[in-house]
């Protein structure tokens, strides 16, 4: 890596206060580093305290710094048995990279490693030309996709963690990863001993996986007189979510969609039918009775469709893993030069990842830009610059380092 980057990283770590590196259960964590230009991660590190860690970072500033979500009796031991797993934080990861968004067309490209076919936007699962799956990507982020990631975090907290899991804001720690997404840590000891299976259930819950509407009341109890033992829009959790989704869908669908749902049963037209059903399911108590079985089956379909909108787009592997390495808050991300930062729930709305996470606030740098889409760091925008138009420009330090770290520019 270029000297200027190393210097900037070093300078940043020097300026940190040791409180900036504070971490719950510090002594019981394993730490891991990846140095610039090195392939293998240095693992199984442990430190006496934050000050000792700070000294280390100042001497050898890493490209990436991680800590274990798990707590161990002997974090420095590489043998899992002797390491002694005690427990692990419950963590959610939301990454803009995993969410298909429109803006990806503007800043992402992919290429098939087997036949060189390529394109823009979210990469296909297999190459449309040769059907192979070895696909390389060149991805960037923009305000739009980072906003989508932020919305997912809000959804996770406001729709799931607070109402369903009963967590308070104080038990939730949000962290911008310094690159493409957010981590969310649940600070609550009752979850720490859960094994993979227990954590998978939590991941499935927020992802809407494995949901069986018939276990939430979408169940015909008698064939003769089909009666739905309804979920109620006033119910909590998924039960209420399902009822609300049917209501919302029925309420907003246009007449073409309505025709699909409508089954002529009485002397009523579609609109009358819509009115009647909406009234039934918003009554208190809800009453889904008097509908045919075929009709109920249609609701079942709506409910399953609606799950997709309500589910939360997390990377489930992070939640399920009980020994995950997580980016250290207030460390620098080697692929962006941005700071991984903690954000309180109240500040999340205002938080600007491409501004507030800037670590190098002073100075400027002359760089030779090879190829970038339109990007922004802080108040400066640049690009798109195509490969054929590559050029030398002077930009604010943070933007320069950002492009260098992404491999799109080099210092002059």
């Amino acid at each position: 890596m270029y000297n200027v980057v190393l210097e900037q990283f070093q300078h940043y770590y020097k300026s940190l206060r040791k409180e900036d590196l504070s971490l719950l259960h510090f002594r019981e964590r394993e730490f891991a580093f990846l140095q610039f230009d090195e392939q293998t991660m240095i693992r199984h590190m442990s430190f006496e305290n934050e000050a000792e860690m700070k000294d280390y970072l100042t001497i050898r500033p890493p490209a990436h710094l991680y800590y274990s979500s798990a707590y161990y009796q002997n974090p420095q031991d590489s043998n899992m048995g002797r390491k002694g797993w005690i427990g692990a934080d419950l963590i959610f990861d939301i990454d803009a990279d995993h969410i298909p968004t429109e803006c990806k067309k503007n800043h992402d490209t992919w290429k098939c490693l087997d036949c060189n076919e390529g394109g823009v936007g979210f990469p296909p699962e297999e190459c449309p030309n040769c059907k192979k799956k070895r696909i390389s990507t060149n991805t960037w982020v923009c305000d739009e996709c980072l906003l989508v990631a932020k919305k997912e975090i809000f959804k996770l907290i406001d729709d799931y963690l607070i109402p369903d899991f009963g967590l308070s804001e104080g038990k939730i720690e949000i962290c911008f990863s310094g690159h493409r997404g957010y981590h969310l840590h649940v600070i609550d000891d009752s979850y720490k001993i859960l094994n993979n299976d227990g954590r998978r259930e939590i991941a499935d819950y927020v992802r809407g996986l494995g949901l069986k509407p018939d276990l939430h009341g979408f169940k015909v109890i008698s064939k003769k007189d089909p009666l739905l033992m309804g979920p109620d829009i006033y119910n909590k959790g998924w039960r209420g979510r399902l009822a609300k989704s049917v209501y919302a869908h029925l309420n907003k669908c246009n007449s073409k969609e309505l025709k699909k749902l409508y089954l002529q049963e009485k002397n009523e037209d579609e609109e009358e039918y819509r009115e009647r059903v909406l009234q039934k399911i918003s009554g208190s108590p809800t009453w889904w009775g008097g509908l045919s079985e075929a009709q109920i089956k249609k609701f079942y379909v709506i409910a399953l469709e609606a799950i997709k909108d309500m589910a939360c787009n997390i990377d489930e592997r992070v939640t399920i893993d009980t020994k995950r390495l997580i980016r250290y808050p207030n460390s620098l991300h080697g692929k962006s030069g941005l700071r991984a930062c903690r954000i309180s729930y109240n500040d999340l709305e205002r938080f600007d990842p491409l501004g507030d996470a800037i670590a190098f606030k002073n100075g400027s740098i002359k760089v030779y830009v090879k190829d970038v889409p339109k990007i922004r760091i802080g108040d400066t925008e640049i690009g798109p610059i195509k490969e054929k138009d590559r050029k030398e420009i002077e930009v604010p330090m943070a933007l320069g380092i950002y492009m260098i770290c992404k491999g799109a520019a080099k210092p002059v």
């Binding site: 109402p163 369903d164 899991f165 009963g166 967590l167 609550d188 009752s190 979850y191 001993i193 859960l194 993979n196 299976d197 227990g198 954590r199 998978r200 259930e201 939590i202 499935d204 819950y205 809407g208 996986l209 494995g210 949901l211 069986k212 276990l215 939430h216 009341g217 169940k219 109890i221 033992m229 309804g230 119910n235 909590k236 959790g237 998924w238 039960r239």
Partner: protein, 376 residues
């Protein structure tokens, strides 16, 4: 919804019935009964109770505690565990734990809510709350915190125990009807299995002086091992296949491509129930992306004929579950942790069931089946 709970006290009898209670383990500790000391020889009346406990649990009879002398049974339990762990047989431990689960579940079904709450607290540190809500299809009696619920519920591998299919509100999961008993007894079962995996227990050797007491138990183990012991060889019985295997075979039948894990599972299963590499190969010749050379190599590897020379084991139920290969378990699935045990149990069940088919006819049937099997 938090109600003031009447505190109830757990009696000596409770401690004998529910040996996982804190009070019971404290009592035992005061007597210095633990794997290191086993000073229990000073209490000879307890040994027969301990062996009885194991015997009943292996045979699947419900062990009943002696209400006239609960102290003896409280002490008999840790001794029973010591014997059990000293026997060093995984299947015996699993069998013991499963029978304990059933025993405890039965007892819990007759307890009143105050008692149940106290048992959950003392045994597992769980905070159950008594509630009383009727939803159309279910009555909710208790709620439990999501975290406590998830310690146990995932191991029941069924859709209705999945968190997403539960009524969840403010960190609590609502338990329908009598589900509390399944959850608590499942936790008791888990405790035994977990203990068995601890370093101290795995290293434990039962002192010689106790061995004479285990003669009878060893005999029973010998009789039962055909069903439960993984080491006993198996033969192919078409009708005894577990649901997961049936589903995967159906997929092959209908020409679907199988995941790597599914192929591995089917291969290990077939090779474990007496099929040969050729049989498995023929089976896979039906999948669309069949590549004979590659497949043969893989199967021979799994069979232990090449490579590491070790026959691979079939994956356990919870592994299959996490790969989405466990399909809606039936009643027998509830009792097993390993598809091959399902298979063994099913065979045993079939032996017990008198065959309604007359002899000659069944010979004919066998032939037909044989032909069918070839086409499987």
């Amino acid at each position: 919804m938090v109600k003031m709970q009447k505190r109830v006290f757990l009696t000596k009898e409770d401690q004998a019935n529910y040996p996982f209670l804190k009070e019971a383990t404290n009592f035992v500790e005061n007597f210095g009964v633990n794997l290191r000391e086993l000073s229990i020889e000073d209490y000879p009346s307890i040994i027969p109770r301990a062996t009885q406990w194991i015997q009943d649990n292996i045979e699947g009879n419900m062990f009943t505690t002696n209400i006239k002398d609960p102290d003896s049974d409280i002490l008999a339990y840790p001794l029973a565990l010591a014997f059990l762990f000293g026997l060093k047989k995984e299947w015996v431990i699993n069998r013991f734990a499963t029978s304990e689960q059933k025993r405890i579940k039965t007892l819990l079904l007759n307890e009143n809510p105050e008692h149940i709450i106290e048992i959950a607290k003392s045994g597992f540190g769980w905070d159950l709350e008594s509630i009383n809500i009727n939803q159309e299809e279910a009555k909710f009696q208790f709620s439990i915190s999501v975290a406590n619920y998830l310690e146990i519920a995932p191991q029941f591998h069924s859709a209705e125990w999945k968190l997403i299919n539960r009524y969840v509100d403010k960190g609590k999961v609502y338990l329908r009807n009598l589900e509390y008993a399944r959850l608590l007894s499942g936790a008791a079962e888990n405790k035994i299995k977990k203990r068995a995996m601890e370093e101290e227990v795995r290293k434990f050797e039962l002192p010689e002086k106790f061995k004479p007491y285990l003669i009878n138990i060893t005999k029973i183990i010998e009789q039962k091992k055909d069903i439960y012991d993984e080491e006993t060889p198996l033969i192919w019985v078409e009708e005894a296949k577990p649901p997961c295997v049936i589903a995967m075979l159906n997929d092959i039948e209908s020409g679907k491509n199988l995941s790597h894990m599914a192929r591995f599972t089917i291969s290990t299963f077939m090779l474990n129930v007496g099929k040969k590499v050729e049989d498995v190969l023929e089976l896979f010749s039906r999948v669309p992306d069949f590549d004979e050379g590659k497949t043969r190599y893989q199967i021979e590897h799994i069979a232990g004929e090449i490579g590491s020379k070790q026959k691979y084991k079939m994956p356990k139920c919870d592994v299959l579950r996490s790969f989405g290969l466990c399909v809606g378990p039936d009643a027998l699935c509830e009792e097993v942790w390993y598809p091959l045990i399902y298979y063994r149990k099913k065979i045993e069940e079939m032996k017990k069931r008198p065959s309604p088919v007359p002899q000659e006819q069944s010979e004919e049937l066998k032939k037909v089946r044989k032909r069918l099997q070839k086409n499987v």
